[in-house]
Amino acid sequence: MRPDLIRGHLDGLLLSILSEEPAHGYGLVERLTELSGGAFALPEGTVYPALHRLERDGLVASRWLAGSGRRRRVYRLTARGRRASESARAEWRSFADAMARVLGTTA
């Protein structure tokens, strides 16, 4: 799938994955690949500018944690991020339904 199709929705995708449980950047990329069945193949580094922006906007919080002999920056949703994630899901469902009606496909 073309990376430019995903880029505009990356924030929503990251918030959605973090709504399951906290994760570090590599874990987010792995989960995104797993859930999308490999369809979302963005350059892995692109998640970090997005995560930093989400953190500056107060939607996620992060801290360094040590584990498995490595130091990782782990991200979690804030209360505001949780609301943003739910809002993004609702917006996407509405968009997908409208696209399906126009394109004549079932969702």
Partner: protein, 295 residues
């Protein structure tokens, strides 16, 4: 040097971000690459991570956007404090009869330029809040902040030269101006390092307002109506002419209300109109209101 070390060295060189943010970026990227390498090998991990130049540009742009918006907020508060101090001083002091008339003209014109630059910067910052603006918009915001601070400095200096009186107000105004200047410099440093900084960019204030008013149909409709008639980006000559006429009319009416004779009031109106046109021609490209005409 391993593939990961070479990648990180290239990223370190390409990043314009400095300080703690830079250290964090490099540490996170290093951790990710080493984790990925344990499963796929270093070459594959580096290939999957993405091109260095694009990634560095994304990090720089993201931080530039954040700092630009924060700078606009800080500047607005500082310049509002400076303006309140200057107005208080202007009302409590006495006009200096020996002061050149040019000081009063600079006070009036620079003050309006500062106000316009600041308002359109605030509207732009609000429009892009919570989203990632294009690089051109970051550059325009930085320029608007710098124009606002520079014009405010001229206004305060002109006020200090025009009014006499015993007061610490000018010191307070310059102090607030110093804070605004620090905010503007911090907000613009990264934006000026972006590749887009060298080009000409436009950002219509009315388009920003239309985006902000999108949730309010009546207001949004009104903004679109005005925009179709008067938008400095779409209709530069018409917009400049209309604003100049209104500004001149306002200056004339104000002077008449203050008891000035028709002749001097008309002269003030003429100066006001010339100032609007001159500012639009000279500062329009810098403020992102029109493109720079190529020779």
């Amino acid at each position: 040097m391993s593939a990961i070390e070479a990648y990180l060295a290239e990223l370190r060189s390409a990043l314009r971000v400095k300080g703690r943010a830079r250290r964090r970026i490099l540490a996170e990227c290093a951790g990710h690459l080493r984790e990925a390498a344990s499963g796929h090998g270093e070459a594959e991990a580096v290939a999957r991570f993405g091109p260095v130049d694009k990634l560095a540009a994304s990090f720089d742009a993201e931080l530039a956007a954040h700092r630009g918006q924060r700078a606009t907020v800080g500047m607005t508060l500082a310049l509002a404090a400076a303006a309140a101090t200057v107005l208080d001083f202007a009302h409590s002091g006495r006009p200096d009869p020996a002061a050149p008339h040019a000081f009063a003209i600079v006070f009036g014109i620079a003050g309006q330029v500062a106000a316009v630059a600041l308002v359109i910067a605030v509207v732009q910052a609000l429009r892009w809040r919570g989203t990632m603006p294009p690089a051109g918009a970051l550059v325009v915001l930085a320029r608007r902040n710098r124009v606002a601070v520079t014009a405010a400095a001229l206004t305060i200096a002109a006020a200090a030269g025009t009014v006499t009186g015993r007061s610490l107000a000018p010191l307070g105004a310059f102090g607030a101006l110093g804070i605004a200047l620090w905010c503007a410099r911090r907000g613009s440093r990264l934006a000026r390092a972006l590749p887009a900084a060298r080009g000409s960019h436009v950002e219509s204030p009315l388009e920003d307002l239309a985006v902000l008013a999108a949730g309010a149909p009546v207001v949004g409709g009104g903004v679109e109506w005005v925009r179709n008639l008067l938008d400095p980006v779409r209709h530069p000559v018409r917009t400049c002419a209309v604003v100049a006429v209104f500004a001149a009319a306002g200056a004339f009416a104000r002077d008449q209300w203050e008891g000035a004779a028709t002749g001097p009031a008309a002269l003030t109106a003429g100066i006001e109109a010339a100032a609007v046109i001159g500012a639009f021609v000279a500062l329009g490209p810098t403020l992102g209101l029109r493109t720079r005409r190529r020779a």
